[in-house]
């Protein structure tokens, strides 16, 4: 069995259980942030599942509309929603450093045409990723604002960008290589958002 399938099945399984755990946390804490996290986990998991099933059933990857990428984009929109729910506007929302980091992220996404080849999807991905980065940096800069979870979100965004950059240099996906190392780290980083969110809720 080639390593791409093992990696994808690992991602589907880990994030499926993370989604179930997030639903349980939402019911326990009666907090919609966990529901949004559950949607995030479910969308990443479903996008990967669709990709794997397409490989299993048809023996190739989708050729016309990239349904998996719609799903992953939706997942990042849920992550942005999660950040928006956490952000209570106690002061002005402008920060020069946050804007710089957001623009840098958008430039990286557009430069490597991530989620391409469609310019529209790539631009949408750039917008979503840079908004997540903006809010995370803004919260970290604010006095008594951000915490470990904001740093972790920046790590997740960084790993996602790194994954696309690394994929540009990889040819062979049948054996373990740097691409899979980054992907597995990204999957585990996503899953770690749940305990961090639980910690944040418990701390309040």
């Amino acid at each position: 069995m080639n390593f791409e399938l093992i990696d994808n099945c690992f991602q589907v399984a880990v994030l499926f259980f993370a989604a179930l755990a997030a639903i349980a946390a939402a019911l326990r804490h009666k907090d919609r942030r966990f529901l949004i996290l559950a949607l995030f986990f479910a969308c990443v998991s479903m996008g990967t599942l669709y990709w794997v099933l397409h490989l299993f059933i048809f023996g190739n990857v989708p050729q016309v509309f990239y349904v998996s990428e719609f799903s992953w984009l939706a997942a990042y929109l849920f992550l942005l929603s999660f950040q928006m729910v956490r952000t209570d506007r106690a002061g002005p929302l402008f920060s020069l450093l946050a804007l710089f980091c957001a623009l840098l992220t958008a430039a990286a996404v557009l430069a490597f045409r991530m989620f391409g080849p469609s310019y529209f999807v790539s631009a949408a991905f750039a917008g979503v990723m840079s908004a997540i980065v903006y809010l995370a940096v803004w919260r970290l800069r604010r006095r008594g604002g951000g915490g470990l979870i904001d740093c972790w979100l920046l790590l997740c965004v960084g790993l996602q960008l790194l994954l696309y950059v690394v994929s540009g240099f990889m040819q062979d996906y049948t054996r373990f290589n740097l691409y899979f190392a980054v992907d597995i780290t990204l999957t585990l980083s996503f899953a770690a958002l749940l305990p961090l969110a639980l910690r944040e809720v418990a701390g309040k």
Partner: protein
């Protein structure tokens, strides 16, 4: 070839007539059922356009094009309702479910016209799974927009996110039922199982007084 417009006229006229004599929330429900049927018909045109444009087979269209077109088309009447009429929180899920019911009904009628109605067992399974799939998508959009993503910017990111979630959910179902044997069985089963779990949740959550902040 099936005459989809004729089927639509035949199904929509009784609904249109009953709308003249009913009011309130029942009228909204019927209107959205009709909207669901109209959207289903329009989706067939859009699907055919993309199928011809990309020159793909029916199977590829079902797995990759149809879920995207259908879910986007289903969202449009709801967006119109939300943006123009600003409905109450409790009205939106009902409208979304009614739209999904109308869509699933029209899709099933077209399927019956094309393939016949001899095999009751298969039709029962198909009716249950396709109906459950569309209703699940309706519930996800309706309840998501009403109860989870309410604020202005959150409503924007939430709506697009929920659309993406519905697309991949629908596409996974279509992908599974396009396969053989165990894949197809799994495809027919999973929307029904999920709707069963959701119904159990609907019964249990009020009992434990669970509301979301």
């Amino acid at each position: 070839m099936i005459y989809i417009e004729n089927i639509f006229v035949c199904l929509a006229i009784p609904l249109a007539l009953c709308i003249l004599f009913i009011g309130g929330r029942t009228r909204i429900f019927m209107l959205f059922m009709m909207a669901g049927m109209s959207v289903c018909m329009l989706s067939a045109y859009v699907n055919s356009f993309f199928m011809g444009h990309y020159g793909v087979s029916a199977t590829v269209a079902v797995v990759e094009i149809t879920p995207v077109c259908e879910e986007v088309m289903k969202l449009l009447p709801l967006l119109f309702y939300v943006l123009i009429f600003e409905p109450k929180v409790r009205d939106l899920p009902e409208a979304a479910v009614a739209l999904a019911v109308g869509f699933a009904t029209f899709e099933n009628v077209c399927y019956l016209t094309e393939n016949g109605a001899e095999n009751l067992m298969f039709l029962l399974i198909r009716g249950l799974s396709a109906g459950a799939l569309h209703i699940l998508c309706g519930i996800l959009i309706g309840f998501g927009l009403s109860y989870v993503f309410r604020r202005r910017w959150l409503a924007f990111t939430g709506t697009v996110g929920l659309l993406g979630a519905c697309i991949v959910f629908h596409a996974t179902y279509n992908l599974l039922i396009s396969g053989d044997g165990a894949w197809r069985t799994a495809g027919y089963l999973f929307p029904s199982v999920l709707i069963g779990l959701l119904f159990a949740g609907k019964l249990l959550l009020p009992r434990f007084k669970i509301m979301f902040a």
